[in-house]
């Protein structure tokens, strides 16, 4: 084995391992929700966007097609991209940009709906104390129904959170408070809405 062959082989190993781990990390983090995609096709006002959806579909289709063509060759190489494929993506991207322009001239299309937790801050919490939390929406357009809410406790999760009916939850403080005092942060999430948080301290 010559030095050049060894270097080619070693560089190939490094690239394959690095890209493999990077791809694996991205897919796993997306699957676990650590990389959030819930607003992938959303407008700034929280509604889903047809332009973004179209762009997403064409991006995946062209990427998958490109990949199918590359692996179908005995020796993988990047194929020539026909001009009409570039035009297809251009139409999609152009439509998206014009759509943004129209949307930004409409004030109602820019307001971001958000969740709000009441009470947003609770102090003087005793061991085993129970705090009832209610979530409401702000900046939502008329007729928007209350979305399904996901409640969670930010790390370090001190105490427990139990989901109640519709838009409520109950936080229960731990039986023994941490040495530095209780500092719990409750988060409410819903697709299409900005998250809300509430702090609970001792």
């Amino acid at each position: 084995m010559t030095v050049l062959t060894f270097l080619t082989w070693a560089a190939g190993i490094v690239v394959v391992v690095f890209l493999g781990l990077l791809g694996l990390a991205i897919v796993v983090l997306i699957a676990k929700g650590k990389i959030s995609l819930n607003k992938l096709v959303s407008e700034s006002n929280g509604d889903a966007s047809m332009s973004r959806f179209q762009f997403l579909v064409f991006t995946f289709v062209i990427a998958l097609s490109l990949f199918l063509i590359i692996v179908s060759k005995p020796t993988p190489e990047f194929p020539a991209v026909p001009p009409d494929i570039l035009a297809l993506l251009g139409i999609s991207a152009g439509s998206y940009l014009v759509s943004k322009g129209i949307q930004f001239s409409n004030p109602a299309g820019l307001t971001r709906p958000a969740l709000v937790i009441t009470p947003s801050a609770t102090t003087g919490t005793a061991p085993n104390a129970v705090v009832n939390l209610t979530v409401s929406t702000a900046n939502a357009q008329p007729g928007t129904p209350m979305p399904p809410i996901t409640w969670s406790l930010e790390a370090p999760a001190e105490g427990t959170i139990a989901t109640g009916p519709t838009n409520t939850a109950t936080y229960t403080a731990p039986g023994v408070l941490p040495a530095g005092g209780l500092k719990a942060l409750v988060r409410a999430k819903a697709a299409g809405f900005d998250d809300a948080t509430a702090s609970i301290t001792s």
């Binding site: 080619t8 082989w9 190939g12 394959v16 890209l19 493999g20 791809g23 694996l24 897919v27 997306i30 699957a31 995609l37 819930n38 992938l40 096709v41 959303s42 929280g46 509604d47 889903a48 966007s49 047809m50 959806f53 179209q54 579909v57 064409f58 995946f60 289709v61 990427a63 998958l64 097609s65 490109l66 990949f67 199918l68 063509i69 692996v71 179908s72 060759k73 993988p76 194929p79 020539a80 991209v81 026909p82 009409d84 494929i85 297809l88 139409i91 999609s92 439509s95 759509s99 129209i102 949307q103 001239s105 409409n106 109602a108 299309g109 357009q141 008329p142 007729g143 979305p147 697709a191």
Partner: protein, 113 residues
């Protein structure tokens, strides 16, 4: 280990990455974890929503072109297949209808006020 093994590994990495990504995005779209609320609705300047037929036709045109191209690409080899004649015109027209409808509902109401 020869380079052919590296090529084989890289091929499977891309299959798992692109396939995994597509599967996750598809699953999240179907289960509502990716927000698709009001995909087929427009918003007027006063904040009210309206059902938008121009979005429906754009959705149908997009899925039809995407599905047909993916099917063609799965049987092609050597280079990316060209789009059938008229596809770009169809898509351009569909996008124009969508943008015209969106602009009409945005600026018509603004001018009325």
């Amino acid at each position: 280990m020869s380079l052919s093994v590296l090529i084989w590994l890289a091929r499977w990495e891309v299959i798992l990455f692109v396939g995994g990504l597509a599967a996750i995005v598809g699953y999240k779209l179907m289960t509502g974890q990716i927000n698709t609320r009001y995909l087929l609705y427009g918003t007027r300047p006063d904040g009210t929503r309206y059902f938008s037929p121009e979005r429906v036709q754009l959705l149908v045109a997009t899925l039809a072109v995407a599905g047909q191209y993916l099917l063609t690409a799965s049987h092609a080899s050597g280079s990316l297949p060209k789009l059938p004649g008229g596809t770009l015109e169809l898509l351009g027209l569909s996008n124009s209808v969508y943008l015209s409808g969106k602009a009409w509902n945005t600026f018509k109401k603004s001018n009325d006020n």
